[in-house]
């Protein structure tokens, strides 16, 4: 890897890191604005224009609060909990392709942290690790409610990971590649996976709601049953990290959904736009501008799903715990297996017929 490539990769990774944090920060603001809109009130509107400085004010408050550790808590693990939650939330963005390639000084560099041939497995592994932050923090608080919240979160995450993995298998059977960059490139020209995998998409998005501990599956922090769930004992920025990690997870899972099912940086008519840009700006600059437009489209899709998370949160009431488990194990997993069988049959028998008919 030479210097230009290294520099572009570094800039990409730092920019992605900063953007993830910025989007997570403004998601907290957007969440309250959306809540205000849905409940017919104005939401935050005191700090800055339209409450735009509200996240900064919240962060300031969080930082200056007393950093309190309960007397009987396990001190190191109590601090490790929120740190682990943040760490695992931020890890996943490394393999997401945010755009196609940049051409700089004769080099073609992909707008992606790491192009790996196990991209989706990496994301899945990081998602599987997300449980630890919650479990370690909940146990270290030395509080029965925290522990119960942590156990609930962990069992929920483990249960829904199974259905999530099974719904991913159908996508992998179609793309026959584990690399996220490859999966996006195959969806070029409105070949979006959502048209082939509607059932898989519904299973996947339900599971990602459960994995992010969002309403309607926010049982781990169910106030009426568990005080505050796994972060009952937390205050100041440590609580802030837990809440922040949830918003980062939301953005990352929205990005993954748009990569897997909605074509990532592909949009209708992109070949026409590309040809026009190359004609008027030359091959290098035109290509780069087209890539930037694709990246903007990608972020638009991801932000729409972030909005979808908020929309659902203020629309649907919370599930009961046994309903949650029944949905996960008895409905989503059989549905996902059914989806795999259908996909396998279609790839084997239907695809050759249709390809022959089209030619």
């Amino acid at each position: 890897m030479d210097l230009v490539e290294f520099l572009v990769k570094t800039v990409t990774i730092v920019a992605v890191f900063g953007l993830t944090l910025l989007i997570a920060m403004y998601s907290t603001w957007a969440e309250r604005k959306v809540a205000g809109f849905i409940q017919d009130r104005s939401g935050p509107n005191r700090a800055g224009w339209g409450g735009l400085l509200q996240p900064l004010a919240d962060a300031g408050k969080m930082f200056f609060k007393e950093d309190f550790i309960p007397a009987l808590a396990n001190k190191w693990l109590f601090i490790a909990g929120p740190s682990l939650a943040m760490l695992t939330a931020l890890l996943a963005s490394a393999v997401i392709p945010f755009g196609s390639t940049f051409r700089i000084a004769g080099h073609e560099v992909a707008l992606q942290g790491v192009e790996s041939n196990i991209g989706i497995l990496y994301v899945f592994g990081v998602v599987a690790l997300g449980v630890y932050g919650i479990m370690v923090g909940g146990w270290a608080s030395n509080n029965k409610f925290s522990l119960l919240g942590a156990i609930r979160a962990a069992s929920q995450n483990i249960s829904y990971e199974v259905a999530m993995g099974l719904s991913l298998i159908a996508i992998l059977m179609m793309s026959s590649s584990l690399s996220l960059g490859e999966i996006v490139a195959q969806q070029h020209g409105m070949n979006w996976n959502i048209f082939y995998q509607p059932l898989g998409f519904i299973i996947f998005i339900t599971c990602s709601f459960a994995e992010c501990n969002r309403v309607p599956f926010d049982l781990p922090e169910c106030e009426t049953e568990l005080v505050g769930g796994y972060h009952t004992e937390y205050g100041s920025m440590k609580l802030g990290f837990y809440l922040f990690a949830e918003y980062i997870n939301m953005f990352i899972s929205s990005a993954i959904i748009s990569v897997l099912y909605f074509g990532g940086y592909n949009y209708p008519g992109m070949d026409f736009v590309y040809a026009q840009l190359v004609k008027s700006f030359g091959p290098d600059t035109g290509h780069n501008i087209a890539t930037l437009i694709g990246t903007a489209v990608f972020f638009g899709k991801a932000l729409f799903f972030v909005f979808f998370y908020m929309w659902v949160r203020w629309t649907i009431p919370r599930f009961r715990y046994d309903q949650l488990m029944n949905l996960g194990w008895k409905k989503l997993i059989p549905l996902a297996i059914f989806n795999i069988i259908i996909t396998g049959a279609a790839v084997l028998f239907l695809k050759p017929v249709i390809t022959a008919w089209l030619n």
Binding site: G125, W139, L147, A154, S155, L178
Partner: protein, 172 residues
């Protein structure tokens, strides 16, 4: 010493340190967390060997699923502060003898095995990639693969039967 070799030594040091800490720590929760760290460093070794699929699966299956269940059980057992049960001298001596014997057996087996020396001409660096692994599994080792999957299915059915509520049992 090039960077890969020095990274290997650093990773090995970390692996052995965390593995020792699993045994030495008094708090079972700490033991489990060190075991998770050990799995991570082992995955690092797999990546150094260019076996990325194995590294990812090691993280997903062991660190992501099995250790979470370990943590579950230990957290429920260990609600109170750790009461160290007194171990008699007899148990300590027996444990030392058993551990030492296992070490001697492993070391003897290691001395006896003939590991082929590394040959850069015939070595295929892509052997750990998921494509070659899939070809190998579904072409050369199809029968063992299917037998293993049937074994897992039997175990799964057994677990479901054991967990099933019998008729007339109390409904929680």
């Amino acid at each position: 010493m090039n960077s890969a070799v020095s990274f290997f030594y650093f990773l090995s040091f970390l692996t052995i340190l965390s593995a020792v800490m699993v045994v030495v720590s008094r708090n079972p929760i700490h033991s489990v967390l060190y075991l998770i760290l050990t799995f991570f460093t082992l995955s690092g070794h797999y990546i150094l060997l260019n076996a990325q699929f194995l590294a990812a699966v090691n993280i997903i299956v062991y660190a992501g699923a099995i250790m979470v269940l370990f943590l579950f059980v230990i957290m429920f057992l260990n609600m109170k502060q750790d009461q160290e049960e007194a171990k008699t001298n007899l148990t300590k001596i027996a444990a030392t003898i058993v551990g030492g014997t296992v070490f001697v057996i492993l070391f003897g087996a290691y001395r006896k095995t003939a590991i082929e020396p590394f040959n850069p001409q015939t070595y295929d660096s892509q052997i750990g990639m998921i494509e070659s692994l899939g070809h190998m599994l579904f072409r050369d080792y199809l029968l063992p693969f299917e037998l293993a999957s049937i074994l897992l299915l039997v175990a799964m059915v057994g677990a479901v039967l054991l967990g099933k509520r019998e008729i007339g049992e109390r409904h929680f």
